[in-house]
């Protein structure tokens, strides 16, 4: 089985700061992989490099065996890599329906017209926004904006979905729903790389974890094993060893 995503020696500097430092990992089709690390360890930067929003200084990124490092963002999106943003970025002047429609119209399906509109509605239903079809994003709660962003990403019909702390800030019920939703996406065959601080979600979703600290990969493997790794405990959970971790 060949890897869906293969990253080798990925490095990105901002001035004197090396935000991502010689990172190598790979993801097999169908996996749900968690990307962990303390604040500022470079997780979002990794997603930016994968989606093409930032260009790597050195290193290679292969998606389905094809080199995508340095390609345009829209090309990568059309190849089947979709993402959400850590701070939600809905398209403010477009209704929820039209937000999702953009992904359909320009993503892999290139759908337009009645079919596209129907699919957009289905996707909104899927993330639980069916009732908000014609609302503007500004009128949604923060959580619903996150759902909208996920629907827009799904509209690209991605093979690889990059989620940047998508579960952060949800209340316990919403978290439950969110986890179920992500699991169903995985069940549908979408490969997922999620940046997350919420331990419950990580434990119940991820088959494998990657842990970063100051730009470097310090551990990878099955959750129990990685979370027990003393270096991870020290770097990621801090000296107080708070197992709840992060800012969930």
């Amino acid at each position: 089985m060949s890897a869906l995503l293969q990253v080798e020696g990925l490095t990105r500097r901002f001035g004197g700061l090396t935000a991502v430092d010689a990172l190598s990992f790979s993801i097999e089709p169908g996996e749900v992989v968690g990307l962990l690390g303390p604040n500022g360890s470079g997780k979002t930067t990794v997603l930016n490099l994968l989606s093409g929003a930032l260009r790597a200084d050195t290193g290679r990124i292969a998606f389905k065996g094809q080199e995508i490092g340095g390609r345009a963002v829209h090309t990568i999106a059309r190849l089947g890599v979709a993402r959400t943003f850590q701070l939600v970025r809905p398209l403010a002047s477009l209704s929820c329906h039209d937000n999702v429609l953009t992904g359909l119209a320009f993503g892999r399906s290139r759908a337009w017209g009645a079919t596209a509109r129907a699919t957009a509605d289905t996707l909104l239903e899927r993330v639980g926004l069916g009732r908000a079809r014609d609302t503007l994003p500004a009128e949604l709660t923060y959580i619903d904006q996150k759902r909208l962003e996920l629907a827009r990403a799904l509209a690209l019909q991605p093979e690889l979905l990059l989620l940047d702390e998508w579960l952060a800030g949800l209340n316990p019920t919403e978290l439950e729903e969110g986890i179920a939703l992500i699991r169903s996406l995985s069940g549908q065959g979408i490969t997922i790389l999620l940046v997350e601080h919420v331990m419950d979600a990580i434990r119940s979703l991820c088959g494998r974890l990657l842990v970063m600290n100051t730009g470097r990969l310090i551990a990878s493997g099955p959750p129990q094993q990685v979370l027990a790794n003393p270096e991870v405990v020290r770097a990621y959970l801090g000296d107080d060893g708070d197992t709840g971790g992060g800012d969930a």
Partner: protein, 305 residues
């Protein structure tokens, strides 16, 4: 098609039919005023076709207008009229594509700066060409096109720009542009080739400007680079579009009519202080009505609800 759209189309058709009668109803002065208004309606609508959704302020309207006008001045005598228009359009497209491809993949400032001096650049190049190669500066425009014919052509162009704007609004390109206007990074992440969309729209919008210039040229019997590339035209178009409102297709026209009349008055009363007045009017608009008349109308309609 929604009911509202059907109604707008009917209203547009009716308005066009009535406007087409203007040459029979009014004298020379009325007709020349009407030509003025319709030409600015095309320019301002074309301007906001691109600058409205993308929020890239184009200051180069007269560069394209002037290219059109000069093309007419050079070829009108020797070539059939449709060929003249076609040549004008092609030259305009080439220039727009160069500007678009070199600046629109970068942030908005580069485009603004490029467009800021473009009219002056083209003016100097035309001057240089005329002085060194053809050894004339200034040309007489000989055609047998009447004022009424100019008016009808402009009216047809106005209808065309509205139809195109309407179709873009309903098309994939329209959706792409609205997404770009909201957040270009997100637009790219949804698979939109933002550079291509912007360049396509920029080229399309400038074609209308070039054609307006080409059609208008016979109005002047004499043309030189300073007349054809007068920067006040770019400025006027910008003011009109902003006053009307660039977020709706019908917006710019709302600004064209009152300002064309006002400028006509100012030009007659204060010929030497015209650009001061226009500048002041403009600053007033930027501060007082940032979303234009169309924005005010929408606000008024929405408020009671």
């Amino acid at each position: 098609m929604s009911r509202r759209e059907t109604l707008s189309i009917l209203a547009g058709a009716l308005a066009t039919a009535i406007l087409a009668c203007v040459p029979f109803l009014f004298g020379d002065y009325g007709l020349s005023l009407a030509i003025n208004i319709v030409s600015y309606a095309v320019l301002a609508t074309a301007w906001s076709l691109f600058s409205g959704p993308t929020r890239y302020v184009s200051l180069a309207t007269v560069a394209f207008f002037g290219i059109g006008a000069y093309t007419t001045a050079v070829f009108a005598e020797t070539l059939p009229w449709p060929a003249v228009l076609a040549i004008a359009a092609v030259i305009g497209v080439v220039v727009a594509a160069i500007v678009g491809l070199s600046t629109l993949r970068l942030s908005g400032v580069y485009f603004v700066i490029f467009s800021f001096g473009l009219a002056e650049l083209v003016r100097q190049l035309v001057t240089w060409w005329e002085v060194n190669k053809t050894r004339t500066l200034g040309r007489y425009v000989f055609t047998d096109i009447t004022a009424a014919q100019i008016y009808w052509q402009l009216l047809a162009l106005a209808v065309l720009v509205f139809v195109v704007g309407f179709l873009i609004g309903r098309s994939r390109l329209g959706l792409a542009l609205r997404a770009i206007g909201d957040d270009e990074t997100v637009a790219r992440h949804t698979g939109i080739d933002t550079t291509r969309a912007k360049v396509a729209l920029f080229v399309l919008s400038t074609v209308f400007m070039t054609l307006t210039g080409a059609i208008m040229a016979p109005r002047w019997t004499y043309i030189d680079p300073a007349i054809a590339f007068n920067p006040v035209v770019s400025f006027t178009v910008l003011i009109m579009a902003l006053l009307g409102g660039v977020h709706r297709l019908y917006g710019p026209v709302l600004g064209v009519v009152p300002l064309a009349l006002l400028f006509e008055f100012l030009l007659a009363r204060f010929p030497n202080h015209f650009s001061i007045m226009v500048g002041l009017v403009f600053i007033l608009i930027v501060y007082a009505i940032p979303r234009g008349i169309a924005g005010l109308v929408e606000q008024a309609v929405r408020r009671p609800a």
